[in-house]
């Protein structure tokens, strides 16, 4: 091949790199055979201690992932293809994204959903920026009940174009219900949107319709950040007036995997589709009149519009969107409802059992879904003591607001066993 190319050596192929900037020595270890590299990865996996009992959620949830979901996303034809620029040989990816968009519209009761985003936090941030484009305003209001990680990402994204972020407080008072107060949102003047989460970070159920009305009263959009499995039982955002919906799709068949890859969901109204960021797949016909699918409305996108694009997003999370599609298909409407109801039932079991044992009490009044803030005396010490035994007593809220000292955010899912709750109670008893 070197002869064909007309060079004497491989080094000649790099003759165009000026000698002054050629790479120096590096410290990269020697190659490993498959058995050696497996041993190395097994070593790292074993350095983790996967808890035997965990009530940790706070944005990433352990749910049953049906075996068939792994089978679908493991298919080479999905995993080793790329963005469907050649639709004639990408109908598998394109149709699955069209099905994904349809499923997300159906879950959220919205008119249009994108092909996916990096995660829930970036989808939320992009939703806020989209609201700025739609309303031509440059302030956004964010509920303090939004996952703090999402708030940080949103602040970073807004710092780009210089969009101001105002926080709408949550009632953290003793006996309060831990929700966003629409009346306290006096700062909605001239905002592009109000962003609020259902359930909120504390697991509490927000008065979404009132919040939407408050936003609309100021000419602002309402951005609802939702948890997708909850939509089997909770009001769909479209029914309470959400203009844009953003969500983390991880609970839909994706492992917690130390934070990613996950999948961001975004849905909106058709009236604002041209302001949406990210890829969209549409149905059309081929030359013979057969139904087929293509990337569409690409005039919003960076590879056509360059600096005038709605976003710089290019790659989305197609394989994770496929996982969500396969998951929602596998569980169906009754399965998703069972997941939501079992998670709610076990969360009530958990909270009730902790209260009955005199170990903890609910920090807030009001209604919650499958995650609940409990006040536990000396929470930090006991959380750490339990972790040593492989029991993760939820998420310690110590880094948040001072009002939430000595509180734990505990999540239950359908995988939470009665025995897990019993073990938590015993372990907490032992640390009194």
């Amino acid at each position: 091949m070197l002869d064909a190319v007309g060079v004497a050596s491989v080094d000649d192929l790099f003759a165009d790199i000026p000698s002054a900037v050629r790479a120096g020595e590096w410290d990269v270890p020697s190659p490993l055979s498959e058995q050696e590299v497996r041993a190395e990865l097994a070593r790292l996996a074993e350095r983790n201690r996967i808890p035997t009992v965990s009530f940790l959620g706070a944005g990433a949830y352990r749910h049953l992932i049906p075996s068939v979901v792994g089978e679908v996303i493991g298919r080479s034809e999905f995993a080793t293809s790329y963005t469907p620029y050649q639709p004639e040989v990408s109908q598998g990816t394109l149709q699955s994204i069209y099905e994904f968009q349809s499923l997300i519209c159906e879950l959220t009761d919205m008119e249009v959903a994108t092909a996916s985003h990096y995660d829930g936090a970036t989808a939320t941030a992009e939703a806020a920026l989209m609201a700025c484009r739609v309303t031509r305003r440059s302030r956004v209001a964010v509920s303090a009940g939004l996952n703090p990680d999402y708030r940080r990402v949103l602040e970073t994204y807004c710092s780009g174009p210089g969009v101001e972020v105002v926080t709408v407080p949550v009632d953290l008072s003793e006996g309060g219900d831990g929700t966003t107060d629409p009346a306290a949102s006096g700062g909605l003047d001239e905002v592009a949107c109000l962003v609020a989460a259902q359930p909120n970070f504390y697991g509490q159920l927000e008065p979404m319709r009132e919040l939407a009305d408050a936003a609309h009263g100021e000419g602002a959009l309402f951005v609802a950040v939702v948890e997708p499995t909850s939509l089997a039982v909770l009001q769909a955002p479209g029914s309470y007036g959400a203009d844009i919906v953003a969500a983390e799709g991880q609970p839909l068949g994706i492992p917690v995997s130390f934070g990613g890859p996950y999948v961001g969901l975004m849905a909106a109204r058709m009236a604002s589709v041209r302001q949406m960021p990210g890829r969209l797949v549409g149905a059309t016909r081929d030359v013979q009149g057969r139904r087929g699918y293509v990337l569409t409305l690409q005039a919003r996108e960076q590879h056509i519009r360059r600096e005038k694009a709605a976003s710089n997003i290019c790659t989305n999370q197609a394989l994770m969107a496929l996982a969500a599609t396969a998951y929602l298909t596998a569980v169906g409407p009754s399965g998703l409802r069972e997941v939501a109801e079992l998670s709610m039932a076990q969360a009530r079991h958990l909270a009730g059992a902790l209260e009955s044992a005199g170990l903890a009490e609910r920090r807030f009044g009001g209604a919650y879904l499958n995650e609940v803030v409990m006040r536990v005396p000396e929470a930090a010490r006991r959380h750490a003591a339990l972790a040593e035994q492989g029991i993760v007593a939820g998420h310690l809220l110590e880094r948040g607001e001072a009002e939430l000292r000595d509180t734990l955010l505990l999540a239950a899912t359908e995988l939470t066993a009665d025995d897990d709750i019993a073990r938590l109670i015993d372990a907490l008893e032992a640390t009194r």
Partner: protein
């Protein structure tokens, strides 16, 4: 559901006529939508009922107020596990993929993704590691991230790495936000409003600049395909925040004036950003950090072989110079206790360091903040780490050597039949032009791409970079055999001959694919972006907006 007629799919992929859900119109489909296979009460997965203990203990707890409950269940499909699996397997059959076809999609580095990487990412000890588990329980995940960052430093010559960005474009955003934070710290952010991008750049570069509030200014290329140094120098000034340059460029050319470029940018007080999309060409040969760049994003899904997944997930870590280090996103995985040299040496030997403790450092007061929830696409880190360790120092060098050799081989084997606007040594890819075929025979690059499909090969990237007329951007990668490359050469030569002898045959292509050419203009004119159930009236039309051009693909 109104569709009881959905037939069993024709596995040949030819499709069968049936009455679709939309308006009772006859339509031929290759594979019905999953919704069209739904039958009431069918299901794949079952869950246990709630336990007695839960019912009793929970009775003291508040339920969900009726006003917050949903009144109509979402119409998810109801199918058996077998029907579902067949549906998705049949969809899979409609895709081309690296594991089936040569896929020389330029700029995307469609190399083989070794399966041991998948094995590693699915290890329960990693896949079930919760991102908010106490650090004491997550030492393996944290060590893996720290080690990967160490390796990326070595590969790139940068002093610090953030793994957080989820994709290349996300890494660009991170880099531009850090650029602005840097200028703010210097007190001249207000006046630095422009970001320079060469005309050969990826569309994400100018789009990213806009997202950060910068004005993108295009710098022309010179006749040799490099950046026009005079134009660059003329554009640089106290109003410029950064230059974003792809090197090797999207023309597959190494910028041989790179020293002058970096020096000029630095002299102007601007940040030198390198788009690292094409790192696959220069492993062990050029380290951007060492050469003086301030920041670069990696595409782990390109260079380090994590699967492209039909369009993600990717991962776009950034490497930075000392002057940008304080602004990196937080948190950063750090070695909180232990000697880094010892920890590295032990890990390279497959051993743990007992006294090492890894942590997430949130205490970064000048950080731009977070660009993504949690820490990034960890599953991609596992695969990339596995890949780098498998290849090692010698393997990484060989990757670039073989990738560059393959691209140059295609260049010399095809340059007599397709125009080559920049006939120079190639790096990872070579960009041909189909202008001769267009002028002489009326066969466009799009037609050529469709003819390639009929020959069982995924076409190159077409109509990009924008500065090449009728561009065909070919990136063979290092993982293809000489026989595959020769087969591709034969196919491309045959198509060039056919373009001359029977151009209409090419314009009819593709004829062997599951569907033929699709009406993209109609798709944009009347957006149909979701399945319509029988009881849904047609969704509102999208308002008239920017007309969609006949989309060139990039």
């Amino acid at each position: 559901m109104s569709v009881a007629e959905a037939p069993p799919s024709d596995a040949s992929g030819r499709g069968a006529a049936f009455t679709g859900a939309a308006g009772g119109e006859e339509v031929t489909v290759v594979e019905p939508l999953i919704f069209e296979r739904s039958r009431a009460e069918r299901r794949a997965v079952r869950f246990p009922g709630s336990t007695d203990a839960a019912r009793q203990a929970g009775s003291s707890q508040p339920g969900v107020p009726a006003s917050l409950l949903r009144d109509r269940a979402p119409r998810l499909p109801e199918v058996s596990e077998l029907e579902m699996l067949r549906h998705f397997n049949r969809l899979a059959h409609l895709n081309m993929a690296i594991d089936l076809n040569f896929y020389p999609l330029g700029s995307c580095t469609m190399k083989y993704n070794p399966k041991v990487n998948e094995w590693a990412a699915r290890l329960p000890g990693l896949a079930e590691s919760h991102p908010l588990d106490p650090e004491a329980l997550s030492q393996g995940s944290l060590e893996l991230m720290w080690l990967l960052a160490e390796l990326l430093k070595e590969v790139s010559g940068f002093g610090a790495i953030s793994l957080q960005p989820a994709a290349g474009a996300h890494g660009e955003l991170t880099g531009m936000l850090m650029t602005r934070a840097y200028h703010r710290a210097n007190g001249d952010s207000e006046q630095r409003t422009k970001v320079l991008v060469p005309d050969s750049s990826h569309g994400t570069n100018p789009a990213t600049a806009t997202m950060v509030g910068y004005q993108a200014v295009t710098i022309p290329s010179n006749a040799r395909g490099g950046i026009d140094l005079d134009a660059l120098r003329a554009a640089l000034g106290p109003d410029v925040a950064a230059l974003m340059i792809t090197n090797p460029s999207t023309l597959g050319i190494f910028e041989d004036q790179i020293e002058q470029v970096i020096a000029a940018v630095r002299e102007a007080g601007a940040i030198a950003y390198m788009d690292g999309a094409n790192l696959n060409a220069i492993l062990g040969r050029f380290r951007p950090g060492e050469a003086g760049f301030d920041v670069m994003h990696f595409n782990l899904h390109k260079t380090f072989s994590t699967p492209h997944g039909g369009g993600g997930p990717g991962a776009g870590p950034v490497g930075v110079s000392e002057r940008l280090e304080p602004f990196l996103p937080r948190p950063m995985p750090v070695l909180a206790e232990g000697d880094p040299d010892e920890v590295r040496a032990n890990a390279w030997a497959g051993r743990s360091t007992s006294e090492a403790r890894f942590a997430l450092d949130e205490d970064r007061p000048r950080s731009i903040g977070k660009v993504r929830s949690l820490y990034g696409n960890f599953g991609m880190f596992v695969r990339a780490y596995t890949y780098i360790r498998s290849n090692g120092d010698a393997g990484l060098r060989t990757i670039s050597e073989d990738a560059v050799l393959a691209a140059n081989y295609l260049r010399v084997m095809l340059h007599d039949v397709y125009d080559l606007p920049y006939d120079r040594l190639s790096k990872h890819e070579v960009v041909f032009s189909g202008r001769r075929q267009k002028r002489q025979h009326g066969v466009t690059t799009l037609d050529i791409a469709k003819a390639i499909l009929d020959r069982g090969i995924h076409p190159p990237t077409i109509y990009f970079p924008l500065i090449v007329e009728e561009a065909l951007m070919v990136e063979p990668t290092e993982t293809e055999s000489l026989e595959t490359l020769d087969h591709f050469v034969g196919v491309m030569r045959e198509i060039a001959e056919l373009a001359a002898s029977d151009p209409e045959a090419i314009k009819r292509a593709p004829i062997t694919t599951p569907v033929g050419r699709l009406d993209e203009a109609a798709a944009a004119r009347r957006p149909d972006l979701r399945h319509r159930f029988a009881d849904i009236a047609d969704a509102p039309e999208a308002p008239a907006g920017t007309p969609t051009p006949e989309a060139p693909t990039a």
